[in-house]
Assembly symmetry: C2
DNA sequence: GTGAAAGCGCTAACAT
DNA sequence: ATGTTAGCGCTTTCAC
């Protein structure tokens, strides 16, 4: 936590001193209010030059504190997700939070909702997380194990809801671990499929790991042997490539479980290019995390978290935590929804 | 701009006074540091109770100013988009900004990048926009005309780049108005299609309006008559419904231009359900704003902004503005990219 | 035409 | 075991 450098911070005062004017003059110029203040044009120019020369950057916290209206309570909410996860994954939470925010906004109380991203595995580097100087409440999602470990080792002194993973000491909303995978396996069993494959990203989150393990265990238990795991990245392109390679190498597959819908999208392409029909040759099941899964061709069957339910629990919990603080850690398990569409 | 209310603001001091302790004690409890400070458990409880009773909400600006390390310059960037626009529309800008941020981050200089949303048409209500107390620099996109009007009437005293629309007095990056529509028309002309239809959202942004008008004008000029305009909402579902209704009503269509890819996704479904082949019966062209357009089935031909180029210009301009300030308004026109895929 | 002073809300350091 | 003080950076008001 040591202070970072001995370099003198550049503030309005630094700039003012550099030019030989007062801080007020600098502030006026920065806000483009020098007319009303009737500053000499030459002074204005000198100040502007100094701002550039010194690389001055206004401190937002200072401005905001100053600008703050004591009659209005400003509440900052954040949805924290990794850069590596597709943005649409947080769409639903966002909309739900926004609905609740709209319902609670009054002239005395306003909210801002921001999505902030961290590099997967480096959540700990996010400014203001530890000292509570960024958000009044956050939803954290799409973490990697390194992030989970970091969270497990601290207690953030503000409202935190963890979405999609189980973390001791936090309020979590997630699907029952392994359950979604089991249900997917059931579907394939019902269709009497023999060669189950599971398409997974190389870097597993808790959620994707649970889905994979639950699926494989269920298939094994039913005597279907060990499903093949095909590893891809996070994108449809990488999924198409990975599955295409697998098929060309003679891999057998009449049932495919994709632990994210984004992977399913790529899988569709690979299957079609390989001349396999869906669901005739290969039944495909995803997890329902893509907002447009219904519009894939054929529409994607999904076994995964019941998104509306999850998102409502997450948002409700967040607001509950903000008003009651110090609620004991809870774990809300939302049973997976099974949505049968044409792909299986 | 009047202050909002006479209600007494609840601060740490209010809470402290209410309990009969000092502000420092309250602060300690809020940060869960009461152990090191050896506060009496009873006091801790009383403070916690008061916090709840009074509905105290910490002021983030105050905390942040206090927590701020003078040796580290914190720079806050925002990507401002409407709630109504799909989140993935900002994915590319986000990633590009992040790349540039990563390259510029040093121990003395850190950035945070947030996506903040406003209700379409109500950008003006976003806290901190006008008084520059929220961001050091922003990218604004997906605005409706009401937002454009608001922006046109003010000058925000910090770095602003407007993405995808033309606004006097701002630095804008956009496709040449009408150009994309013309190119789409060209494609259909080349295919000798007779019955052109354009699928549009009911609420037009500057970008979607330009695409529509450019397309219709080009078709008209080529003697193809006035293209039918089919109006939908913003979602694939609404597009499917609108186009389905049009087709069932006997609407003729052998060429379809969708002014957003999200609409194209819904259009695909409607076309397939109506038994029309793509591109055999109907050629479809979108605009390339969906990150997965390549994985639609068939892959979607696009005529629209060259996204990589646009996004690079946007981010570059943003950083340029932040270091040089007061750059005169510029308009960067990025010629549309034409990506022929199987759908046309 | 410009400077000085005050204070937004918070917490760490020091003082009892 | 708790209170007092100082000051983070900024801008507005008032004074000249």
């Amino acid at each position: 936590m040591g202070r970072a450098s001995k370099a003198p911070p550049v503030t309005v005062r630094t700039v003012a001193a550099h030019v030989g004017v007062s801080a007020a003059a600098v502030s006026t110029v920065l806000a483009n209010r020098y007319k009303e203040r009737r500053l000499a044009p030459a002074t204005v120019e000198k100040i502007r030059q100094a701002v550039r020369d010194l690389g001055y950057v206004p401190n937002i916290a200072g401005r905001r504190l100053r600008a703050h209206d004591p009659g209005v309570r400003q509440i900052d909410l954040g949805i924290l997700t990794s850069y590596e996860a597709p943005l649409f994954l947080v769409s639903r939470s966002l909309r739900q939070v926004q609905r609740m925010v709209d319902a609670r906004t009054t002239p005395q109380r306003r909210y801002s909702v921001a999505i902030e991203m961290f590099h997967a595995g480096r959540l700990r580097e996010m400014p203001g997380l530890l000292n509570a100087s960024r958000f009044n409440g956050v939803i954290i999602t799409n973490t990697l194990p390194a992030d989970d470990a970091f969270l497990g080792a601290t207690t953030l002194p503000y409202a935190v809801v963890v979405h999609g993973r189980r973390l001791p000491n936090y309020c979590c909303v997630l699907e029952p671990p392994g359950e979604a995978g089991r249900r997917a396996a059931d579907i394939f069993q019902g269709l009497r499929r023999q060669h189950c494959v599971v398409l997974v990203p190389e870097l597993l989150t808790q959620a994707t790991a649970n889905r994979t393990d639950g699926f494989c265990a269920a298939i094994r238990r039913a005597g279907g042997g060990e499903p093949q795991r095909v590893k891809a990245g996070f994108t449809p392109g990488s999924a198409a490539e990975a599955l295409g390679r697998f098929l060309r190498a003679g891999g057998r597959c009449d049932a495919l479980y994709c632990v994210t819908d984004t992977l399913a999208l790529g899988a569709y392409q690979a299957l079609k290019q390989a001349g396999r029909s869906i669901p005739g040759d290969v039944a495909v099941v995803g997890v329902g995390d893509h907002e447009h899964a219904e519009f894939f061709d054929p529409p994607l069957s999904c076994v995964g978290p019941s998104n509306d339910e999850v998102v409502e629990q997450v948002a409700t919990l967040l607001f509950h935590l903000m008003t009651h603080r110090r609620v004991k850690p809870t774990e809300v398990l939302v049973p997976p929804a099974v949505i049968r569409r044409a792909s299986a």
